[in-house]
Symmetry: C2
Amino acid sequence: MADTSHVPATLGAVRADAARNLEAVLTTGARMLAADPAASIASIAAEAGVDRRTVYRRFASREELLAAIYESRLEAIERAIEDARLREAPVAVALHRYVENIIAVNRTWPVDLARMLADDAVRARRDASSREVDAFLRRATDQGLLRSGLPEGWASALLPQLMHLVSRQMPQLSPAQAADVVVDTLLRGLGTS
Amino acid sequence: MADTSHVPATLGAVRADAARNLEAVLTTGARMLAADPAASIASIAAEAGVDRRTVYRRFASREELLAAIYESRLEAIERAIEDARLREAPVAVALHRYVENIIAVNRTWPVDLARMLADDAVRARRDASSREVDAFLRRATDQGLLRSGLPEGWASALLPQLMHLVSRQMPQLSPAQAADVVVDTLLRGLGTS
DNA sequence: ATTAACTGCTACAGTGCAGTGACATATAGC
DNA sequence: GCTATATGTCACTGCACTGTAGCAGTTAAT
């Protein structure tokens, strides 16, 4: 699930255990920062089973660790969109596939992007993904899957929120089952009656 | 909107300007803590237009300030539930009224209760309110307003999320208009088809 | 007008966390 | 087994925030 492609090339040849540690720090960090954005590096390191100093050997600063975590989420989101083929696939298929993918992303990288939007590069990538989804939602509306006349931006705001909610609140559901619930609620709630 | 009934009785006779400052600190604090839960007392005081020391004259510690803010939100929620008459009023009426009230609460006290659930007293009050709403949702289901067979807890989780979303994301809508959107989405999404 | 309450300002100690350096130890790959 | 690489540990500095103290100035209520 997690990859290390955002790690500088000079670290490409790290040992297997080092790579494991790196991944543990990233995913554990994502989980802890989602629960408490002020989580200290010491607590993240402890939870990930490594020494605080080890984290600093990988990441020059707290800021860099956060950047790596958000980078992981951003990349996972971009892969999720690509895999769903939002532009070409039939809207009903693409919607379900996208939702299922994002739910998996939300569970692995539960961090909230909102805290990183100050960074222009992050914001640009997030906006690009958002535009992609917005375009898809317009296509869904044109094809009659969603009804028109809804408040501006309501569908765009509701969809991520539904996915976020089901990701956190319904851990007993598999991503596919959770996607069923989200899609059903969305299509009934915003669909052509 | 904001009251001071949670302030100890010994402060009941504060001067008018002092009461204004107190209210400013509470509402500004709620707004800033919602945006950044680690906001310092100094920054909250500055934003509220008072000295940091003044905050400490009202609240013995940061913890107490937070408690007062969450208390304000809790109380506002309880008033919102009472006013909606969830047990007696016709379900459609009660639902809209409740949603509209909570949206107003969310905009005045946008803090997330999740951070205070460690406190048993807070948790108990939140749970009591939640039970009240859950009972109402069951009544709505019995009367055919919501359909049965939905995943366990889905309606209970979705409703607050919809209200939260519309409170933050659609500031241009009045509470009544925002309530229209939420109720419409909820009833179509979870209603008897 | 007088008084009591309230506020602003400066300075201070205590604390926890970020980030760094040096050195000892452990381990994967040869 | 040897070596390079990665990790653990201790010890330190710097910084931001919490919480406290005293004093001077301001303002609401009588």
